[in-house]
């Protein structure tokens, strides 16, 4: 099986207290995977490890044949400072970072691609709007347009459908499916298990360690979900003890 990401005994944490332990699995190339688990299960932490913001406490991660790090990452909306005065156009144009970097100009070719991305997410005519004036759904569409421009083989979405309206969710899921059909590897942190069952062929269930990984119907069983909740409660107590011990 060709993989896009492989984790080998991979542990991540903050300030020496582990948040995700001994992950041992492979994400198949071109798969559409939901990352599911209780609060504090290490889902967002895993993404921060993949983009290199966190260095692993132990173990290794490798990118399959894609080689180097070319990942489009969408943070949780709460991580975006929506009061910062930049326009939809500027926000989306940042998706070109790989090509234009900190100094490159946005040329006509880029301009057209930005216009295409905006129209793909249904934000025609929003170019000049300040992100602070947008609704939650529109901000999410903006972030998706930025992902479109990044054009990366691996896409990480952290709670992409949280707190947005049903119409926007439906539109964005269509985009995700389009990426999937283009052969990209997609990982998305989700809470809505109904949506997972409907749209995501594979699921990675976490509870500070790997609970289950595979086809969604085998992973999202009542038994597995119950076990994940229990593990999370149990190990949150244990890790508190750990960090106290370290301190």
């Amino acid at each position: 099986m060709k993989y896009a990401l492989a984790f080998e005994n991979y542990s991540l944490g903050y300030n020496r207290s582990p948040a995700l332990m001994n992950l041992q699995t492979e994400i198949p190339k071109g798969s559409l995977t939901a990352v599911v688990g209780p609060n504090g299960a290490g889902k967002s932490t895993l993404f921060k490890g993949v983009i290199g913001e966190l260095t692993p406490l132990s173990g290794q991660m490798s990118f399959g044949e894609i080689g180097g790090k070319d990942i489009a990452y969408m943070p949780q909306q709460s991580e975006v400072d929506r009061s910062f005065p930049i326009s939809v156009y500027e926000m989306v144009a940042m998706g070109l970072w790989k090509e234009i970097g900190a100094y490159g100009a946005v040329g006509l070719k880029h301009h057209n691609r930005i216009a295409e991305a905006l129209s793909a997410v249904g934000l025609d005519g929003f170019e000049k709007r300040i992100i602070g004036s947008l609704s939650g759904g529109q901000v999410q569409r903006t972030l998706f347009a930025r992902l479109l421009l990044q054009d990366s083989p691996i896409v990480l979405l952290d709670e992409p459908f949280n707190a947005i309206d049903a119409g926007t969710t439906a539109d964005l899921i269509e985009l995700v499916k389009r990426w999937h059909s283009e052969g990209r590897t997609i990982l998305a942190v989700l809470h809505d298990t109904e949506a997972v069952r409907l749209h995501f062929p594979r699921t990675l269930l976490l509870a500070r360690e790997l609970v289950a990984h595979g086809p969604t119907k085998d992973v999202l069983t009542a038994e597995n979900q119950f076990r994940a909740r229990q593990m999370c409660e149990a190990c949150s107590g244990a890790s508190d003890m750990c960090s106290r011990h370290v301190a």
Partner: protein, 288 residues
């Protein structure tokens, strides 16, 4: 007209120097102030300005009122606090605003104490409130140099800095700019506060950074225009403040800051973006 607005600068060299010094500080500091406010870091600026005081005081202890020693001391102390306060917030449970407040109270007390050990009250006043009317060539060169470096760095750093503010996670995901950007920003901040401290004093240097930037928020919505408006307000305040202080024999530093303060207060009332009048009108329109 001539007498009122131009004569003081034509007749007196010290007024011309003061004007140049203030303009340099105004042009360098205000763009940083705009970023500080947008990143909700106004208090950080305040804390760092205070933190410079003990450093400058130690320089003073060794070399008296020497430009070089006090600048160096201020730079070192400012950088130490910039790094330490970030570290303390990360490793302790104390909220950032509380740890910053603690830092600047300690710094202020320490600085005043060190200067009092050796110097007179006049020296203390000089450090706390600056001496904009007594800027020599070396000080002017320093101020203009700092401003040039600041504006150049901001131009080079603009895109990563905006992204670091708007969506830091994303910037981290696309490259290694994030940490460097933040560090350079803090360095520029310290540089400008040290420069401002020579002309306006440690306590007032933050004023010319924050007040014009806060004023601009009430008038324009784009970051570029904010910087332009803020710089205009700062330049105007410097000029008007110096004139007032000349004609009415008021202390220059505080007069400049007060003029900026008046701009701010007027803007909170009349500003079209979130000013009191606009907000009341909007509320009334919703009720009707």
């Amino acid at each position: 007209m001539w007498e009122l607005f131009f004569a003081p600068f034509v007749e007196f060299g010290f007024m011309r120097r003061a004007l140049l010094g203030c303009l340099a500080v105004a042009l360098g500091s205000t763009p940083l102030g705009v970023f500080l406010i947008l990143r909700r870091m106004s208090l950080t600026g305040d804390a760092m300005a205070h933190a410079i005081l003990p450093g400058a005081a130690i320089g003073y202890l060794f070399a008296g009122l020497s430009l070089g020693a006090m600048t160096l001391g201020g730079l070192v102390a400012g950088m130490i606090v910039a790094v330490l306060s970030g570290y303390i917030t990360r490793v302790t449970a104390l909220r950032e605003d509380a740890s910053l407040a603690a830092f600047y109270l300690i710094s202020l007390a320490l600085g005043v104490l060190i200067i009092s050990i050796r110097g007179s009250n006049v020296d203390l006043m000089h450090v706390l409130f600056g001496s904009v009317l007594a800027l020599d060539n070396a000080a002017l060169t320093l101020l203009c140099g700092i401003t040039s470096v600041t504006l150049l760095s901001l131009a080079l750093l603009f895109r990563p800095l905006v992204l670091e503010c708007a969506d830091a996670q994303f910037l981290r995901s696309v490259g290694r700019f994030s940490a460097a950007t933040h560090f350079i920003f803090l360095t520029l901040l310290v540089l400008n506060l040290v420069g401002g401290f020579h002309s306006l004093g440690t306590l007032m240097a933050v004023g010319v950074m924050i007040l014009p930037a806060a004023t601009a928020q009430f008038w324009v919505s784009r970051i570029g225009s904010m910087m332009v408006v803020a710089s205009l307000v700062a330049v105007l305040s410097s000029y008007a403040g110096l004139l007032f202080s000349y004609h009415f024999s008021l202390p220059s530093g505080s007069t400049i800051i007060l003029v900026a303060g008046v701009c701010y207060v007027v803007s909170t009332v009349f500003g079209p973006r979130g000013g009191v009048l606009q907000v009341t009108r909007a509320v009334r329109a919703m009720e009707v």
